[in-house]
Symmetry: C2
Subunit: 439 residues, 2 copies
C-alpha cells in the first residue's frame, strides 16, 4: 500500500511505503538524506545503513524508487515527518546526471525563456515544484470557471477548429490543405456560439484558437486557450458584464483560497476585489481623459486603449478603488465590428474589455441580434453577405436570435496575471510562438 507524501506525517502506521522520484540527495558520509517527490510533495528520508547508502551511489536524480521506512515526526522536514531506517527498491534507475538541478527554482527572466522552454529541458523543468504550482493553479482556474457556468445553467459546446476559408480575409490565419480544399484554423468559435444561443440560450466552450500573428511580445502566442461564453435573453450590456465579472471573481476567490500557499511562494500579488462585488466600469472616453490629465500625454484620439493606458487605469483601480479587475467600456463606433451592438446616439459600441492587473484578459461585447441591422452593418463593413462562410451564421439571425452577449476570455492571460508572471508563455505548458513549434 502506497502512502503519499502529504499523508506520511499523519499516518497511523509506524512503517510506511512511499513511491516517487529521487528529487534531491545529500550524501554526507554518515548522515545521508534524500528527498523523494510524488504528486503531493516531498518526503525526506534519512539513510544510514551501509548497504542502503551504497544503493544511492550510482543513483541519479529522477530515479524512481519505492522506500519502506519508519515514520519519525520532525518539524524541520518537508511535510513534518521523516522516514528512518529505509529499505530502498529502485523501480526505474536513472544513470545519467540530469542537465538541470530539478530542485532549484528555474529562472523565468526574459533572457532565460529559451532555456525554460528548451525542448530537451522543458520536460525536466516542469518537474520543479515551483513550475508545477503554475499548472496546478491553471487547472483549478478552469475547473472553478466550469463550476460557476454549470451552476448558471450554461451548456458546454464543442465546435470545430477546422473551418472553410476565412470570411474576413486571410491575414493572421493559418491555412492548410484539406483533401484538396483550403481549410483555416479557427481564430474564435464566435459564429458557432452565437448559433448555439438559438439552441441552448447559454453556452460556453474552452478550446484552442489560432492566430498567425508574427508578433513577438509578452502578450501573444499563436495557439491560445480561450473561454468563449455566449448568453441569450439578456436585458442589456450590464447584465453580460456582471455575469463575466461574477464568474471571474468567483474563480479567483476559490483559487486564492485553495492555493494560498502556492500563490504566496510564487510571489503572486494579494488579491483585491471590489468590496460590493461590482467591477467598476469606465468608458474609453473617460479613461482617455483621466490618462491624458494624469500623464500629460494626449490619447483622446485613440480608438482603443494603449497598453500604457491599460496599465494606468488598472493601477488607478487598484490604488483608488481597491480592485484588481476593472472594465473599460463603450468603445468609439469606429472600433466596432459588424456583429457588435452599436449605440449610435452615444456614438459608442456596447463592448467592454475586462482588465486584470494591467492586461486585457477578456472582451465582453453585446451583439447585434437583429437580422436586417446585421446585414446593413456587414454591407457597411464591405463584406459580401452571400459568402459561403456567412451562410450558416446568418441563418441563426434570420430565424430569430434574442439579444445576447458574451466574452472571449484568454485563459493563458488569466493564469499569467493571477500568478503575476511577466510573459503569457510562462503560463503555458508548451507555448507556441513565431519561433517555437517544439516541444
Amino acid at each position: 500500500m502506497r502512502t503519499l507524501a502529504k499523508d506520511v506525517a499523519t499516518s497511523k502506521e509506524k512503517k510506511v511505503t512511499i513511491q516517487g522520484w529521487i528529487h534531491k540527495k545529500r550524501l554526507l558520509g554518515g548522515l545521508n538524506f534524500i528527498n523523494v517527490r510524488d504528486r503531493t510533495g516531498l518526503t525526506q528520508v534519512l539513510v544510514e545503513k551501509g548497504e542502503e547508502v551504497e544503493k544511492l551511489r550510482g543513483m541519479q536524480i529522477g530515479s524512481v524508487v519505492e522506500i519502506t521506512g519508519t515514520v519519525l515526526k520532525d518539524e524541520r522536514a518537508p511535510g513534518g515527518a521523516e522516514l528512518h531506517d529505509p529499505e530502498i527498491t529502485v523501480l526505474v534507475p536513472v544513470t545519467d546526471e540530469p542537465p538541470i538541478e530539478i530542485d532549484k527554482p528555474i529562472s523565468h527572466k526574459s533572457e532565460h525563456l529559451d532555456t525554460l522552454f528548451d525542448p530537451e529541458l522543458r520536460p525536466l523543468n516542469l518537474r520543479n515544484l515551483q513550475e508545477q504550482k503554475i499548472f496546478k493553479i491553471r487547472a483549478s482556474l478552469t475547473r472553478y470557471i466550469r463550476d460557476f457556468l454549470h451552476k448558471q445553467e450554461f451548456i458546454e459546446i464543442d465546435t470545430p477548429k477546422l473551418l472553410a476559408e476565412a470570411t474576413e480575409g486571410g491575414a493572421e490565419v493559418f491555412q492548410l490543405d484539406y483533401f484538396g480544399k483550403t481549410a483555416t484554423l479557427a481564430q474564435s468559435p464566435q459564429f458557432y456560439k452565437q448559433i448555439m444561443v438559438g439552441v441552448f440560450e447559454r453556452v460556453y466552450e474552452i478550446g484552442h484558437s489560432y492566430r498567425a500573428e508574427p508578433s513577438a511580445t509578452t502578450r501573444h502566442i499563436t495557439e491560445l486557450t480561450m473561454l468563449d461564453i455566449e448568453m441569450g435573453f439578456v436585458k442589456d450590456h450590464d447584465e453580460v458584464l456582471d455575469m463575466v465579472g461574477n464568474m471571474t471573481q468567483y474563480a479567483l476567490q476559490q483559487v486564492y483560497a485553495e492555493h494560498a500557499d502556492d500563490l504566496k511562494s510564487l510571489n503572486a500579488p494579494e488579491l483585491k476585489l471590489p468590496a460590493d462585488g461590482k467591477i467598476p466600469r469606465f468608458t474609453i472616453a473617460e479613461i482617455h481623459e483621466m490618462y491624458t490629465k494624469a500623464t500629460k500625454t494626449d490619447v483622446t484620439d485613440e480608438k482603443d486603449l494603449t497598453p500604457d493606458e491599460e496599465r494606468w487605469i488598472s493601477e488607478y483601480a487598484r490604488k483608488q478603488l481597491g480592485t484588481d479587475l476593472v472594465y473599460a467600456v463603450r468603445f468609439p463606433l469606429v472600433a466596432g465590428k459588424f456583429y457588435h451592438k452599436m449605440d449610435k446616439e452615444d456614438g459608442t459600441v456596447l463592448w467592454g474589455d475586462l482588465l486584470f492587473r494591467g492586461l486585457e484578459i477578456a472582451t465582453v461585447p453585446l451583439r447585434e441580434n437583429n437580422y436586417e441591422t446585421m446585414l446593413a452593418q456587414m454591407k457597411a463593413a464591405g463584406l459580401d453577405v452571400t459568402h459561403d462562410g456567412f451562410k450558416h451564421y446568418l441563418q441563426a439571425f434570420k430565424y430569430g436570435l434574442p439579444q445576447h452577449g458574451g466574452c472571449g476570455f484568454g485563459i493563458d492571460r488569466l493564469v499569467q496575471k493571477t500568478i503575476g508572471l511577466a510573459n503569457v508563455k510562462e503560463a503555458t505548458l508548451f507555448p507556441r510562438d513565431i519561433n517555437r513549434l517544439a516541444p
Copy 2:
C-alpha cells in the same frame, strides 16, 4: 422577472412572464395555441383575444417573444400548465417561414445526413428538442468524466495541437505552413501526457485530435474530441483497465440517472453494467476463437478484432454477461507499437480496447517506461531515435518515468453509443469529414 418554462406550473404567482421562441403555432380561429420554447422546454399559450391573435398572423416560427399571462394548471399541456389571457410582445420578429419544421423530429436516416448537416439547415435543426437532447447528454458525459477524474486527483493539462513535423511519417496527418516551417496537426497528445506523468503522475486532457483519413465510414471523422488520460505508479495493466472502466461506468450511470427521460425519448438502449462493477476482459486470442467457433469464419490470424468481431463479442457480453462494456485485451506482439509494454513470454502487448455496444470507444494500454527498452523498441520499429520530434519525449524516460498507462477515449463515439446513434457524426454538433468542412 422572467419565468422559465420548467417553472411555470409550479409558479406561486398567478401571472408570469415568459421569454422564448415561437416553436409551434396552431391558429384554429377562436382557439389558438402557440408553444414557446426556452432553454428548459415548452410553454403552451392559449390566445383568444382578437388583438393578440392579430399579432400572431405575420409572426413566423422562430420569432422571439415575451408573453405575460395567467397560469392555468393543465395536465395535457407540456410542463403541466398553460398560459391564458396573454399579452404578447415581439422582441425579435421573424418574417420568413423557416425551411424546416423545427417542432418535428429531424430524420437521422443515413440517406438524410446531408440534410441533417446542411450548412443552412444545421443551425435550425439543432433547435429541435430531440437534437438538443443529444448535445445536453454530451455535455453531461464530459462533465461527469471530469468530476470522476478530479476526485481521483488527476490534473487537467492543456497541450498544443500545432506540432513540428510528424515523427512517424506524414500519412493521415494534416500539414500547414507555420511561418515558413511545416507544422502538423496533432493526432494525439500522447507524448505530452506521458511527459506530464513525470510531473503530476496523473493527468488528463479533453481536446481535439486530427486525422487526415480519407475514410467515409460511420465511425470516422477528421476532427475528433478525445479524452486522453495517463496515470503513473500503476502496479499493472489491470489497474489501468479498472480505472478507465470505473470512470466510464460512473459517467454512464450518472447520465442515465440525470437524463432518463431524454434517453428514453431518444430510444437509447437500457444500460447494462456488470453486477460486480468489474468489466469482463477477453484476450484477442479468446475472442478470435469464440467468434470462429460461433460463426464458422476463421479469424484466428487477424492481429486486431474485425468490426464484426467487436459487434459479436459485445452482443455476447450483453446477452451472456449482462454488460454493455467489455474489454478486449492482449493484442498480438505484431500489433504493438514502440511505446507499448510487451509481454514477450506471452507473445502479447499489454493493451486493451474498451468496447461499448459493439464499438471500440477507447484504447487502454500499459506503456513501456524503461528508457533502454524504449530505445530498443524504437530501433526495432525502424525509427530514428535522434529525430527532433522524439527529443523532448525521450528526455522524460531518460530521467525517470514510473510504470504508467492510460487511454485515448473517443468522446464522440461515447456519445454516439450512449444514445444509440448509427453514425458518430450524429453525436457531433458540426462534424468534419472528407466532404464536410462547413458549417
